[in-house]
Amino acid sequence: MKYGQRSFIFTFLFIPVVIYVIFVAIPYVTSMAVSFTKWRGLTMDLPFNGVNNFVKLFNDPNFWNALGHNAIALVVLPPVIITMALIFAFLFTQGIRGSGFFRITFFFPQVMSAIIVGVLWSFIYHPTLGMLNGLLGLLGITSLQNFPWLGDPSTVFGAILVVTVWQAVGFYMVLFITGMETIPSHFYEAARLDGANSFMMFTRITIPMLWEAIRTAIVFLALGAMDMYAIVMIMTNGSGGPSRGADVVPRYMVEAAFTNGEWGYATAMAVVLMLIILALSILSLRFTRRETLEY
């Protein structure tokens, strides 16, 4: 029995791990080694550079600026998106008509092509034609007329975070709804007999039962917050924003590698970012660990 189990584990892990190691792990490990070199990206010439790349990184204000934006995203995105997604998911349990329609609709931004998201929101934030400034005008806020939301260092990152929330909420909502619908209804029936209202049932039953999904969401969103590459590239047209006002580490990494040819340095950035993320995910997994409810 015990032996059978071991061979079973081995069989199940073997092929996936081999594929993963060859096509993902080896390339990444190889590139990690590059972080200790001055590789310039075009030849096999890899001059050893010790920890100099890391020292340089530590003293590079642009790196800290970029990391700071990732940190803001990390603090803002998970709570905002999870709260909104939970609220929406909760509303769906209130017996509404057309829930199928709403669910598909809400999910859709996740499916939209990044190109369209970029062009679209660029028009929404357009200083003169944009919906946002038009709306503010209608509300009588004239001081912001023609305000360039994406052209001002103080607003550009906030504007991008809004787009991120808009894109992500639907996905997590669906995740939570899926989770909620697996919660046995007799839990709620029992609670209702005990006189619980919707809100109490939500906090006492739904959230604990959903904890595993919420935890997953926290980790994904934390990972996403440390990335932000695609959306920042699109919304700032590749520059990281005016005065680098929306720069994030992965975009700055691309600048170092592709624009400046400093591949060793860029790789060092990736390694540091990876260590930060690894620490974060271990922390968030530990921190959110709870007894899973068995039923």
Binding site: H126, N237, S239, T259
Partner: protein, 492 residues
């Protein structure tokens, strides 16, 4: 130095297509049939003799026996060409490949069209197996200077000294527009690439709008500011707009030309060669203050900083603003958006009555750099390809089918040129030999990046001119001190 490469450096940046015409349509379906392309049909049949192919291609040029095969090609080795395909499409690339195949019966020239040149080709360089010729353009191109610094590019003297393909009695180098083969392709005095497209960059306005209001284009920058004041007071239009999210349209087109006009080549060379305190030169301050005045006096259209290039240019086409900096690709880029009676024309950047540079000077140079990797298997095939693509025949095809210009002398005679290009050529004509060449951004990516960034801050009032120059001086000093950045020497 305003080559197209600078304008297409990044993922989302627009590049250097020039000039209106059929480019967009030719690339897209229905109208493509009208393009007399020698498309891929014959590539699969090396047996196809020159005669029918020539008839189909209309290869009208006689080739001197001496000019037939200067590089002694081995026709058994195919040519591997990897080409960025942007607004010019890729038919002109194939046309040149056909010419090469016809001149060398039995030779196969493989054409691959790409986006994202660097991402795609980097592994091939690392593995020591680069292609034989590359159109290194567009978003995601290699920084040419990186390729040069790492010994990856073939020096092109052999090509430049070779006989021209279809201009009898001339060397290849003598068939190209003077000044067109410098920006972005010459490093430390050596030729590492050819610019296949010709671009002029200046300040645009609507002739229709100007005529309607009886405006005359300002002769000096002081006149420009006075004129802007008049427009602003009129209240109907904003005087200026620019491609807000890409401030380098301002640094590259306006500031650099002002710099030259204020201080001449002296100051340009000081900056290009990273001399101490180059950015503190009085001419640099003068140019910077001149440009800053546009912001300071409120001449820039409100909201400009939040616009992409297309959005800003669209606002300009709506006559929301009078002036816009751009290169000659503007016409083609905005073709489908331009109102029929807009009539866009290009002017030079107005200078200073007492400036040290030639006040008629203009950015008129090449874009769309093609290179031959030094470690390619068939460098001769690559060189020959360059000779073919910059032949008169190819340039004529280009002018007629892509409505753009190659920097090949005499190739566009009789070809229909757009009004915008005509206006630009008039500026070049007027400039004579005063072709401005600022290379610092081509030499050092970091300076290019920071110059753009701080120009954006200057034009939104986040930096004052003196602080701008202080900051840039620090950046330049940092590059000068960095032993890992190979240094370039600009000589004029």
């Amino acid at each position: 130095m305003l080559d197209k490469k600078r304008f297409s450096r990044r993922t989302f940046i627009k590049g250097s297509v020039m000039i209106g015409g059929a480019a967009a349509l030719a690339a897209c379906g229905a109208p493509a049939t009208t393009a007399p392309t020698a498309a891929p049909a014959a590539t699969s049949a090396p047996a196809a003799t020159t005669a029918p192919a020539a008839a189909k291609l209309d290869l009208p040029f006689p080739v001197d026996p001496a000019a037939m095969d200067p590089f002694k090609l081995d026709v058994k080795v195919p040519v591997d060409g990897q080409f960025f395909s942007g607004g010019f499409g890729d038919e002109y690339i194939r046309y040149a490949a056909k010419i090469e195949e016809m001149i060398h019966p039995g030779l196969k020239v493989n054409v691959t069209a790409l986006q994202k040149v660097q991402e795609t080709l980097q592994p091939r360089f690392v593995s020591g197996n680069p292609p034989d010729v590359i159109d290194n353009s567009g978003a995601g191109q290699f920084k040419t200077v990186d390729l040069v610094n790492q010994g990856q590019l073939l020096e092109l003297t052999e090509l430049f000294e070779a006989p021209a393909l279809d201009t009898p009695g001339k060397k290849f180098k003598d068939t190209l527009f003077p000044g067109s083969q410098v920006a972005g392709v010459v490093f430390n005095g050596k030729q590492y690439g050819v610019n296949v497209a010709y671009t002029v960059s200046g300040i645009w306005w609507s002739k229709t709008l100007a005529d309607k209001n009886g405006w005359k284009y300002p002769a000096t920058w002081d006149d420009m500011l006075a004129f802007c004041d008049q427009i602003k007071k009129g209240g109907k239009y904003a005087p200026w707009t620019y491609q807000g999210k890409y401030p380098y349209y301002m640094s590259g087109i306006v500031w650099e030309q002002l710099l030259y006009k204020a201080g001449g080549n002296d100051v340009v060379l000081k900056i290009d060669n990273l001399e101490p305190n180059a950015w503190k030169d009085p001419a640099a301050l003068r140019a910077t203050e001149a440009m800053y005045a546009l912001y300071d006096k409120g001449y820039i259209m409100p909201g400009t900083a939040g616009l992409t290039h297309t959005e800003a240019q669209a606002e300009w086409l709506k006559n929301k603003a009078v002036f816009l900096p751009c290169g000659t690709w503007l016409e083609n880029e905005m073709k489908t958006v331009t109102p029929a009676d807009f009539n866009m024309v290009m002017n030079g950047v107005p200078g200073f009555a007492d400036g040290k540079g030639d006040q008629k000077g203009i950015f008129a140079n090449g874009g769309e750099p093609y290179v031959v990797p030094a470690k390619a298997k068939n460098t001769k095939g690559g060189l020959e390809y360059l000779r073919c693509i910059l032949s008169k025949s190819s340039a004529k095809w280009f002018a007629e089918n892509v409505s753009s210009m190659m920097p090949v002398i005499g190739a566009t005679e009789g070809a229909k040129i757009s009004d915008g290009m005509k206006s630009a050529l008039a500026v070049v004509q007027n400039a004579g030999s005063a072709i401005i060449d600022v290379e610092v951004g081509n030499y050092y990516s970091k300076i290019e990046t920071e110059l753009e960034l701080h120009t954006g801050e200057l034009l939104t009032g986040k930096l004052k001119p003196a602080d701008f120059l202080d900051t840039m001086q620090k950046v330049a000093d940092g590059v000068a001190k960095d032993p890992d950045i190979p240094k370039q020497k600009h000589v004029i």
